[in-house]
């Protein structure tokens, strides 16, 4: 599926849109990490909790659960809710 990468993570991917595979959000993030080592830990902590301010949208709908099922045709957007100075 296509995954939209926010600017703070493009140092890992080098591009704004990448392709990754998996049946759940967790599997897609694992696949991303295999392709772009280190990217997952910047998004998900060591207890498998999404880090604060990290948001995920599948076909425009917000999801928060790593076990959320994804279809190959889905479009996943990773977004960061920037705040503060």
């Amino acid at each position: 599926m296509n995954v939209l990468i926010p600017t703070p993570l493009r140092s890992y991917t080098g591009q704004s849109m990448v392709v990754a595979h998996g049946a759940t959000l967790g599997e897609v993030l694992a696949d991303l990490d295999a392709r772009y080592p280190g990217i997952r830990f910047r998004i998900v902590d060591e207890q498998d909790r999404l880090r604060p301010h990290m948001r995920f949208f599948v076909n425009g709908h917000a999801i928060r659960d790593l076990s959320h099922p994804l279809a190959e045709a889905s479009e996943l957007a990773i977004v960061q809710a920037l705040s503060g100075g």
């Binding site: 830990f41 998004i43 207890q47 880090r51 503060g84």
Partner: protein, 389 residues
């Protein structure tokens, strides 16, 4: 104790400045009279600590995160020309229920003992102690303190510490013995191990705590900065929330040397620096710890205070600093010394100024201004052929 002589061949200093918005390497000439800035590195990243490995004079480690991305460590083998992220940054062990602690910030970096090349220690928030044996590429939780019920209680939670979380800091390695370690917790006291970290024990005797709390309970101890004398590793100094202290080993009772500072200045502050070749010389940057704790220069008149006799007497060192209306804060990592003779001193303010003295504090000049909030200042003497100069 004989002190090592100042090496006349010591390369010029490079000041490693870590800020809330990136890092700068500020290169000095041999006379420490001209400085030029290399940076920003990691613009927009939160840099808590930037440290050169003195064992090879070329490896830099940077403790970094951003407002959103998780914490990590970057490494450079060419003084910041190129950087590579750690393959496995510091992280707590995953718990079965997923409710375990997660590293929010890598706060402190300490190179290991010279006999253990590649070994580094890291302190984090929430308070954790981590070790790398491969030059900072992979990190693992270090020591049983993470699972010890006493230590977990003493460490407390995010509610118990500084505004952005309690921090494990001031990791010290005895230069005579790699198994002899100290660390401090911003909430939780000073601790010592003599067996390479298998066991730690509190080292609190003589320290004061806030009135009304149990002085015997490490929970209530708030060390700000712990330093070991390079000239005599049996001499420790500590800037604490409740004063300034000295400890001479093998003794185990801290002595409050801050009582010898002027009453109008007090002995509250965050950073502390010890002379590289004289255990009795040290410097502090007092700040206002009264009422609501402004943590700014007392009366708006910044000054470094120095001692030449282990804290028995103190001299005010403010030549060149503003005379009034300068409400500076200097964080616990934001003051350092070079290895030259006379010793050069450096401190960075949260208002983004870096001040330097090439004569042990006798006179100060501002060598960089308009930087972001300065979190840490380390002084390095990189190998002359390393990176861009």
């Amino acid at each position: 104790m004989p002190a090592p002589s100042a090496a006349s061949a010591t390369p010029p200093p490079v000041i490693l400045v870590a800020t809330r918005k990136g890092a700068w390497l500020i290169h000095g000439d041999a006379q420490r009279s001209r400085w030029w800035l290399d940076g920003p590195h990691f613009l927009g990243h939160i840099l808590n600590h930037l440290v050169l490995d003195p064992r090879d004079g070329r490896t830099l480690l940077a403790a970094a995160k951003t407002g959103h991305l998780g914490p990590t460590v970057f490494r450079s083998a060419d003084l910041g020309v190129t950087w590579r992220e750690a393959a496995r940054p510091p992280a707590f062990a995953k718990t079965a229920d997923g409710n375990g602690r997660a590293v929010d910030q890598v706060f402190w970096l300490t190179p290991g003992h010279p006999s253990e090349p590649g070994c580094w220690y890291a302190g984090t928030s929430p308070q954790g102690l981590f070790r790398s044996e491969d030059g900072g590429d992979t990190w693992t939780p270090f020591s049983p303190i993470h699972d010890d019920p006493d230590y977990l209680r003493w460490m407390g939670t995010v509610q118990d510490g500084t505004p952005d979380g309690p921090k494990l800091h001031s990791i010290l390695v005895d230069p005579r013995d790699p198994a002899h370690l100290y660390f401090a917790m911003s909430g939780g006291g000073v601790h010592e191990s003599r067996d390479g970290g298998r066991r730690f024990a509190p080292l609190l005797k003589g320290l004061e705590v806030v009135e009304g709390f149990d002085v015997a309970d490490p929970t209530f101890h708030d060390p700000h900065c712990l330093r070991i004398s390079p000239a005599d590793p049996d001499r420790l100094y500590q800037q604490n929330h409740c004063g300034l202290y000295r400890l001479d080993r093998p003794g185990d009772t801290w002595v409050r040397i801050g009582r010898n500072l002027p009453a109008g200045v007090g002995d509250i502050g965050f950073p502390m620096v010890v002379h590289p070749r004289d255990r009795d010389r040290a410097w502090i940057f007092p700040m206002d710890g009264q009422t609501v704790w402004p943590r700014t220069s007392p009366d708006g008149k910044p000054a470094v205070y120095g001692t030449r006799d282990g804290g028995e007497t103190w001299q005010r060192l403010d030549a060149g600093l503003p005379r009034e209306q300068a409400w500076w804060t200097v964080k616990r990592q934001a003051m350092g010394a070079d290895q030259l003779d006379p010793v050069g001193l450096y401190f960075g303010t949260t208002s983004g100024e870096l001040w330097a003295s090439a004569d042990e504090g006798a006179a100060w000049t501002c060598i960089a201004r308009h930087l972001p909030e300065i979190y840490a200042v380390e002084v390095a003497h990189p190998a002359p052929d390393t990176g861009r100069r």
